[in-house]
């Protein structure tokens, strides 16, 4: 509603009349109001230097810190839930990335690691895929050639094979539904006569294994002896990550971290590489900070934190 000129004139006349007629509140009223306002402000504002508030603040911070520490000590996993840590190793990538034929190659069986070395809580997606491959392998329960049966009996335990080599026959994973019964079919021809010879001679390789398969098997054979040591190192790295970088361990963004340990394994220095900082450049600063002590070569671990983010953790030790 836009006031017209007449409306404005009316308002002006009223205001002039009101100024002459009304005046304002008495001085006592004004003083009482302002005094009450000041008193109310004083009542409301806590004295920052009051020791009560200081003690309450300190106590509150202490309680909060204790609560956080307790929370960090508790294992938050639900019953039956696996740890969210996922360690990706070179071996896993080899196992999952390259398609292999479903035939079993016994030549690398002795090199396979024992099953006990692979913790059930460290099971990775690659392991799961290996199990599923093992369950669906045509050689597992069924009408397989006798040659392959004999190889299976003479090779490492099936459980070991299931954990390491996706294409090896293996029993179902504990807790998984049992494998379906074998489909009916003609009995397999036996090549070596009586069953289960104590040490059957090494059979010739399958008729036409692809060249890529052989190459990957060779790669696996080269990497597998290191697996146990690698896994231990990765386990240690994850533990160090949790211990020394709890925030980054729960972070939703990737991080590049470094950690310097002394000869006993105690942490001397730690930090994070930001932006375009390089580990080499940081090394000089760290060695200077440590009084010129030379660091051993960095061990760089690429890990996944609790949120699945990539964490690059470089660890060095002083002699």
């Amino acid at each position: 509603m836009n006031p017209s000129d007449e409306d404005r004139a009316l308002t002006d006349v009223y205001r002039k009349a009101s100024d002459k007629d009304a005046g304002g509140p008495g001085a006592a009223t004004r003083n009482a109001i302002l005094a009450e306002a000041a008193a109310a402000a004083r009542r409301r504002k806590p004295a920052a230097n009051d020791s009560r508030y200081l003690l309450r603040g300190v106590a509150g911070v202490a309680v909060l810190g204790i609560a956080v520490l307790l929370w960090q000590q508790v294992d938050h996993r639900m019953p039956g839930e696996e740890t969210p840590i996922t360690v990706i190793t070179v071996l896993d990538e080899v196992k999952t990335d390259v398609p292999l034929p479903s035939t079993t190659a016994p030549m690398d069986a002795p090199l396979r690691a024992p099953a006990a070395e692979v913790s059930p809580t460290r099971r990775t997606a690659a392991d799961d895929s290996a199990r599923s491959l093992a369950r669906t392998s045509p050689t597992e329960p069924a009408p397989a050639p006798a040659v392959e049966k004999a190889e299976s009996q003479s090779a490492a335990p099936a459980a070991v094979i299931a954990n390491i080599e996706p294409r090896a026959p293996a029993p179902p994973v504990a807790g998984a539904p049992p494998a379906p019964p074998p489909p009916p079919g003609p009995p397999a021809p036996r090549v070596f006569g009586p069953p289960a010879p104590p040490a059957p001679p090494a059979p010739p390789p399958p008729p036409a294994p692809p060249a890529a398969s052989a190459a990957v098997r060779n790669e696996s054979a080269r990497v597998q002896p290191k697996m146990s040591a690698d896994q231990d190192a990765e386990t240690d790295a994850v533990a160090l990550l949790q211990l020394h970088f709890p925030q980054q361990y729960q972070s939703r963004t990737p991080h590049r971290l470094w950690l310097v340990l002394d000869a006993t394994g105690a942490a001397l220095r730690s930090g994070e590489l930001t932006g375009d900082q390089s580990l080499a450049g940081q090394r000089l600063a760290i060695e200077g900070d440590l009084g010129g002590r030379l660091l051993r070569p960095w061990r760089i671990h690429t890990l996944r934190n609790a949120q699945g983010q990539s964490i690059e953790l470089a660890i060095a030790q002083t002699p």
Partner: protein
């Protein structure tokens, strides 16, 4: 035009944080319009002074709970209006200032005002336009008088008047128009 830093709302926030100077600035800004609004509603200076204290004491208590997205003036005048109504109910427990069935009906307060204020005709003899308009204002129904005083003293918009008086925009606009029309007619009669 006040900047954001010294707006009413910023001053209330400052006072809520302990800045007494902010309150003094706020008070000086609204002192006269609010007091005159109270005076026009209750027509007694002593009562206006008492209500003034009550309103500003309420402001000092409620300032920390003042919503930062709200506007101060409508909030202040809403408090003031409630105090006026409370005071009237305390003095006249069986009657209501708002007992108006129709805009054309004169409520009790207007009839009471007639008994104590000179008629416009009598005032017009004084040839004092301002006195005449104040007398005419006293003869207006309370709702119309309140709408006019809120607009003329506190410079509030129709939306704010509707919010303060708890009515719709159209009702507030209608009350304001009735008040202006009656006062303008009086001004024309007393034009020099």
């Amino acid at each position: 035009m006040t900047s954001a830093a010294d707006s009413d709302e910023a001053l209330v926030a400052g006072y809520a944080a302990g800045d007494v100077a902010a309150f003094e600035q706020l008070y000086s800004r609204h002192e006269l319009p609010l007091w005159r609004y109270l005076l026009r509603q209750c027509r007694d200076r002593a009562t206006a002074d008492e209500l003034m204290q009550e309103v500003w004491f309420a402001v000092t208590r409620e300032a920390p709970r003042f919503r930062s997205d709200g506007r101060f003036a409508p909030w202040l005048y809403t408090i003031a209006r409630h105090r006026v109504i409370d005071r009237h109910r305390a003095e006249h427990p069986a009657q209501s200032l708002d007992a108006v069935a129709d805009e054309s009906d004169e409520p009790l307060a207007a009839r009471l005002a007639d008994e104590h204020s000179p008629s416009p005709l009598a005032v017009s003899e004084q040839t004092e336009q301002g006195q005449a308009i104040l007398a005419a204002l006293n003869r207006l129904p309370p709702d119309q008088r309140e709408a006019f005083v809120l607009q003329a003293e506190a410079d509030l918009s129709v939306e704010d008047i509707a919010r303060i008086t708890g009515t719709t925009f159209e009702t507030a606009k209608s009350r304001l128009r009735y008040a202006r029309d009656k006062l303008k007619a009086l001004l024309r009669d007393h034009a020099p």
